[in-house]
Chain length 141, copies 2
DNA sequence: CCTACATCCTCTAGCGACTAGAGGAGCAAG
DNA sequence: CTTGCTCCTCTAGTCGCTAGAGGATGTAGG
């Protein structure tokens, strides 16, 4: 017969924590597995594989809903992959936006630090920049 | 006497939404303002200023707890500004890390898209890359 | 066989930083 | 006087987990 895979073992193999696996089952992202006589979850290899898929997708920042769609696609290999493409493209745009705003932020934070005289709060540019958004790098709005 | 500033007006001036202002009061980030006869919040200019400070800090990604500390510093101008510095430095490191991992992500997502033949899911690299982390850009682990 | 101890089970509540909605009161303009 | 806007409080929901209580089951050693 095929191997017995406990939830702990599945966690080790997939890199998804035990409570998170149970959570995924609860929200319907992962189907409920078979149980042993003692009522313990007993995973099959393809379920562990599915967990790894989920984990990788989460690492790439996909939302649970997007992952659900991706999993449906994976289960039906004759579907055109345009939907998957679009999910990835949307995520890519999101990532680009985040990178841009984080870069702007980085500049602003660095400027704050450079201007700080390391004296008292009274003449501290850090506090003042936070207080007075107009003077900051983003300018008026 | 000084101007009457309703919560809606304070929201408009500071850029913080009305329910968020009430939330900030609830968690003790913003002191409870005076009330009018009709039990409405009545802000003073310095309170609106404080809201703008909070908003800008949030935009820069500072956590509420960090902002609490920054506000205490702002209120006591004779304190050395080293604490403020450290908060900013910590945030800067965090931002740097995020930028790095987002850039790695971007590359991976782009690679996925480039390899996709835009056919069926069966031969789609997008789905396969997600399923098979080993083959992805990050390599084995 | 007994005892530790690890692992598992379910269930509920908490996190951060809001956001949404119910149900009602106050206020200004027409 | 009525319409419609803003305001009030309160509770519950969002996302993706994480933590903890309280108990059952499984395994290894003595």
């Amino acid at each position: 017969m095929s191997e017995q895979i406990s939830i702990g073992e599945a966690a080790r193999r997939s890199g998804v924590k035990v409570p998170t696996i149970r959570y995924y089952e609860q929200i319907g992202l992962l189907p409920a597995p078979e149980r042993t006589e003692g009522n313990r979850r007993n995973y099959r290899k393809d379920e562990v594989q599915r967990l790894a898929f989920i984990r990788h997708s989460r690492e790439l920042g996909f939302e649970i809903d997007a992952i659900k769609t991706l999993l449906v696609l994976q289960d039906d290999p004759n579907q055109p992959c345009g939907t998957a493409d679009q999910i990835v493209i949307a995520r890519l745009q999101d990532v680009d936006q985040r990178i841009n705003s984080l870069n702007a932020l980085k500049v602003e934070l660095e400027t704050m630090l450079e201007q700080c005289s390391h004296g008292r709060v009274k003449e501290c540019r850090v506090i003042e920049t936070l207080a007075n958004h107009d003077r900051c790098i983003h300018g008026h709005h």
